[in-house]
């Protein structure tokens, strides 16, 4: 996961992709006390980070029943630290099977600032690109260009049939 802390520089230099300062981790919600406690723990922990770390977070649940912890901040190191710590907490509480993915958002400066994503799949332990263009359409060409730029410097999903999209990402704040 930490390989992204160098890969994002490559993306910026080679492709003009800038980190937007937004990223998220998502896991399936389960009904029950343990899960509820974990949720509270995560929120307490993230709030306790606030004075030191320059970032904001919010929790959203989507229509698939997945909880998203969305982070927003200026420094990628802070974002990455908070995101991985959250993932670790989910695993420690015994919910590692629920942990699905982490998502990092980029803006393509050379093509009108469109959003492009790197998805980290917790089960495969690797990254793949996702460039949505509409409701259910994606820009495969741009995705492959991303792979060609960083595919060698980080654990990357080479099997394109596993590049599952995440439509309607709740990364942008609703307000």
């Amino acid at each position: 996961m930490f390989s992204i802390s160098s890969a994002y520089i490559t993306l910026e230099v080679k492709l003009g992709l800038k980190v937007t300062g937004r990223c998220a981790v998502t896991f399936k919600t389960v009904s029950g006390t343990f899960f509820y406690e974990m949720e509270q723990d995560i929120k307490r922990f993230l709030t306790s980070l606030q004075p030191e770390f320059d970032l904001a977070y919010r929790a959203v649940t989507d229509s698939y029943g997945y909880m998203w912890i969305v982070f927003e901040g200026k420094r990628i190191e802070d974002l990455l630290a908070a995101l991985t710590a959250t993932g670790d907490m989910v695993e420690e509480k015994g919910f590692s099977d629920q942990l699905l993915a982490a998502v990092f958002e980029f803006a393509n400066e050379r093509q009108g600032g469109g959003h492009q994503y790197l998805i980290y799949n917790y089960r495969r332990n690797n990254f793949y690109p996702f460039v949505p263009t509409g409701q259910k359409t994606r820009d495969t060409e741009q995705e492959m260009i991303m792979m060609s730029a960083i595919g060698e410097e980080m654990p990357f999903e080479k099997d394109m049939t596993l590049w599952y999209p995440l439509w309607d990402l709740p990364l942008k704040s609703p307000g």
Binding site: N121, R123, M144
Partner: protein, 311 residues
């Protein structure tokens, strides 16, 4: 054996149909046409031998016929694939597109032919750059966007520019000679040689062995050269248009890879944990050794590396 050799000979004449795996029909028709022609030659030559013509006249006639086949090869290819030469009036956009590429790269404009089939495919034929023909199918034009079609046609134009037909013909000369040697020594062995040379059995066997090895090595070499020429044509074609990623996406579309990139949401894949354990697909290197075209993913990878280096 004959079919093997023919297939290889046909490849030399027809010059590549880049996405053969999905369009065997076109290649099959070309192969059958050349096979029928070659069988006709062999029957004709056998008849000549039977009526008692000497070895030298037969060799001369065979030579003339091979030259004729070479000379008419593009006509045979057009005829066997059902490709029709099209005028500017019939396909103005296609003519414009080809002219844009040749004008930018200072190449002679080839003739353009179209095959009416849904299968996406393209190939180049011709003995010299000036007399060459670029053929595309209507399916290719329907499936690709203009810039992708440009990429494919530029790839075909680089085959013409690089004289890949000639390169492969020269490369296959060895193989052809070895094949004839192999055959004649086989016949020699089977019928006890032509008469008196009963003592030469061991020598015959050695010739046979050497011929087989030569043939096999040159067979692999031709395939290696052919794969290399594909990479070169990809690179040169991408340089002509300046957009390697467009050719890459064209290749992915034609090979059907594009369709395999999922649109189903990751969140709907839960309960399919086992699915994620399947190891990534990898091409067998054995199959690689024998095929004339490199796998699409390798070609795409190289094109995207080019794109990354250019940006």
């Amino acid at each position: 054996m004959i079919i093997k050799r023919l297939r290889h000979e046909v490849r030399v004449y027809t010059k590549k149909a880049p996405w053969q795996k999905r369009d065997n029909g076109l290649t099959a028709r070309i192969i059958v046409s050349f096979a029928i022609l070659t069988i006709l030659y062999l029957v004709f030559l056998s008849v000549l031998a039977y009526v008692g013509l000497g070895a030298i006249p037969i060799a001369v006639i065979a030579g003339i016929m091979i030259l004729a086949q070479w000379y008419f090869s593009d006509k045979i290819v057009l005829w066997s694939t059902g490709a029709k030469i099209v005028s500017r009036e019939q396909f103005p956009e296609l003519h414009d597109l080809v002219e844009r590429i040749v004008a930018r790269n200072n190449l002679p404009k080839p003739r353009i032919a179209v095959i009416n089939t849904k299968m996406p495919n393209a190939f180049a034929t011709g003995k010299t750059p000036k007399s060459s023909i670029v053929t595309v199918t209507t399916g290719l034009m329907d499936q690709l966007e203009t810039e992708e079609l440009e990429g494919v046609i530029a790839h075909e134009l680089s085959h013409i520019k690089n004289r890949d037909v000639l390169v492969l013909t020269l490369a296959s000369l060895f193989s052809t000679i070895a094949w004839y040697l192999m055959q004649s020594s086989l016949y020699g062995g089977m019928y006890g040689g032509y008469g008196r040379r009963r003592d030469g059995g061991g020598g015959m066997l050695l010739v046979l062995l050497v011929a087989i090895i030569t043939w096999f090595v040159s067979f692999l070499m031709i395939r290696a050269i052919s794969r290399y020429r594909e990479f070169v044509a990809d690179r040169d074609g991408a340089l002509m248009t300046g957009k390697p990623s467009k050719l890459a996406s064209a290749l992915l579309k034609i090979s059907g890879t594009m369709k395999r990139i999922p649109t189903q949401d990751l969140r709907q894949m839960e309960g399919m944990n086992a699915f994620f354990i399947i190891p990534a697909l990898s091409g067998s290197s054995f199959a690689n050794l024998f095929s004339t075209h490199p796998p699409v993913d390798q070609r795409v990878k190289k094109l995207l590396e080019m794109e990354a280096a250019m940006s």
